[in-house]
Amino acid sequence: MQVHADRERCCGAGMCALTAPEVFDQRDEDGLVVVLRSTPPAEFEADVREAVSLCPSGAISLTEEDAAALPG
């Protein structure tokens, strides 16, 4: 699972940092999203998915690791 954050869309609400503090932080100058671990370990996966859902501006997204392994 790869975590992406679009700082242009970020509104600084901090829900990601509140929900998955090991994976997300807010930068000091303006509180916008910082991704601490872009491929977080499996133990944080549930929290990261919740953070994606709770982000009010849709700034956080995920790409699944095995997307590259689609049959074709």
Partner: protein, 404 residues
């Protein structure tokens, strides 16, 4: 042209908003819940007979508030107003709550650093000190008090004044103005007078900070050199009002809700580690921003199976969305075990409450200190005699007589 909305208007009576609450003052109006059970998006009638859409379903509220095609700009045609007074209050001197991106983002980002989690967390010891000082004063030689006047209102007021650099001595003035501004039954002249008075007050305060900066939020905004005096005044006014009215009412109403749910209260007192979860559940259950967040469609958008046309207004009913049983099983009960994090009490989308980390901090501390320091806390009045803020944009109780 016939639209979903115009043909709805031609049919039988539309639900009038705001509707009255039922027997339980903690529950949203029964008519809203009934409407949501029929459909997540329903046409409703405003005070002046105009039709608008009520967004009552949880997913639909998130969809609308997260969609930039729904504008927060109250100058846009079709923007829904809840009273004549609200419509009269529209002005060029807007705060960012009534703007869309990119101008909204530009202004909001000047404040996001001030309210981020780490920064707010640094205030914890000071807020706890303030809470304890207020309680010390309240309990000195007494066993009863009005929790609103002596604790729930002063605590967030003191904190936001400290953060902004507003003198707390002026609190009676700005609290009176802010109460008027939130009153949907206030006449246009009253609203304008309160607003103009506060704007004038803020201009004078900002002038003072220009001469003598104090490191507070008002000073720091001025020092950026990017804002006009009007912009500084409207932003700081918004922070002042939003920063105390909301938390004050959540605090008092939360205590009342816990008093009415004694098993939940006992659990919270015995297990202070559940305080954070309790605050989320109380935010969900009480949803004090209860008159619906207004937006207007700038393009045709389908929501909940209804076609909302450009120029039609919507009211996003946070309280009703937070009682959506499909999302929150047992939604109409207050239960500290409910997973409540997904609530929309702070709204959704790019306007989601900027102050939410501060609100959470203050509520966690307020509830913790009240429960720890007031053993035997009980309501000191007849529940049926309590006065609720039905007509105000932020719901709550006017007074909360308690004893301990």
């Amino acid at each position: 042209m016939t639209t979903d909305l115009t043909s709805a208007v031609r049919q039988a009576d539309l639900l009038a908003v705001p509707a009255a609450r039922g027997t339980c003052p903690f529950d949203p109006p029964p008519a809203y819940e009934q409407a949501r059970r029929r459909a997540p998006v329903v046409p409703v009638r405003l005070f002046d007979g105009t039709a608008t859409w009520m967004i009552a379903g949880y997913h639909e509220v998130r969809q609308v508030l997260g969609d930039p095609r729904f504008s927060a700009d109250d100058r846009a045609p079709g923007f829904p107003f809840l009273s004549a007074g609200r419509r009269e209050l529209v002005t060029e001197r807007r705060a960012f709550i009534r703007m869309d991106d990119p101008e909204h983002a530009r202004l909001r980002r000047m404040l996001t650093g001030e309210f981020m989690l780490k920064r707010i967390e640094e205030l914890r010891p000071r807020v706890q000190e303030l809470a304890d000082e207020l309680l010390d004063r309240m309990i000195a030689g007494r066993r009863e008090a009005d929790l609103v006047a002596e604790f729930a209102l002063p605590l967030p007021s003191l904190v936001i004044c400290m953060m902004l650099g507003v003198p707390y001595e002026d609190h009676e003035y700005f609290q009176a103005c802010s109460r008027t501004l939130l009153d949907n039954s206030a006449k246009p002249e009253q609203l304008a007078a309160a607003r103009d008075g506060l704007v004038e007050y803020m201009h004078r305060l900002a002038e003072g900070k220009r001469r003598e900066p104090d490191g507070g939020i008002v000073s720091r905004l001025i020092e950026r050199g990017e804002l006009s005096p009007d912009e500084v005044a409207s932003m700081c006014l918004l922070l002042l009002i939003a920063g105390h009215e909301t938390t004050a009412n959540m605090t008092a109403l939360s205590v009342l809700a816990l008093l009415r749910n004694p098993r939940q209260l006992a659990r919270l007192r015995m297990e202070p580690e559940v305080t954070r979860d309790a605050v989320e559940e109380l935010l969900r259950y009480l949803s004090i921003v209860h008159t619906g967040l207004p937006r207007v469609a700038t393009e045709d958008v389908t929501v909940g199976g209804r076609l909302i046309r450009a120029g039609e207004g919507v009211l996003c009913m946070l309280s009703t969305a937070n009682r959506d049983e499909a999302v929150f099983p047992g939604a109409d009960e207050l239960d500290l075990d409910h997973p409540a994090r997904r609530h929309v009490a702070f709204g959704f989308g790019v306007h989601q409450c900027l102050g939410q980390p501060l609100a959470r901090l203050e509520l966690q501390i307020a509830l913790d200190r009240i429960l720890q320091r007031l053993p035997g806390l009980r309501l000191n009045a007849d529940f049926d005699g309590l006065r609720f803020r039905h007509d105000l944009v932020v719901y709550g109780v006017y007074e909360l007589p308690v004893a301990w």
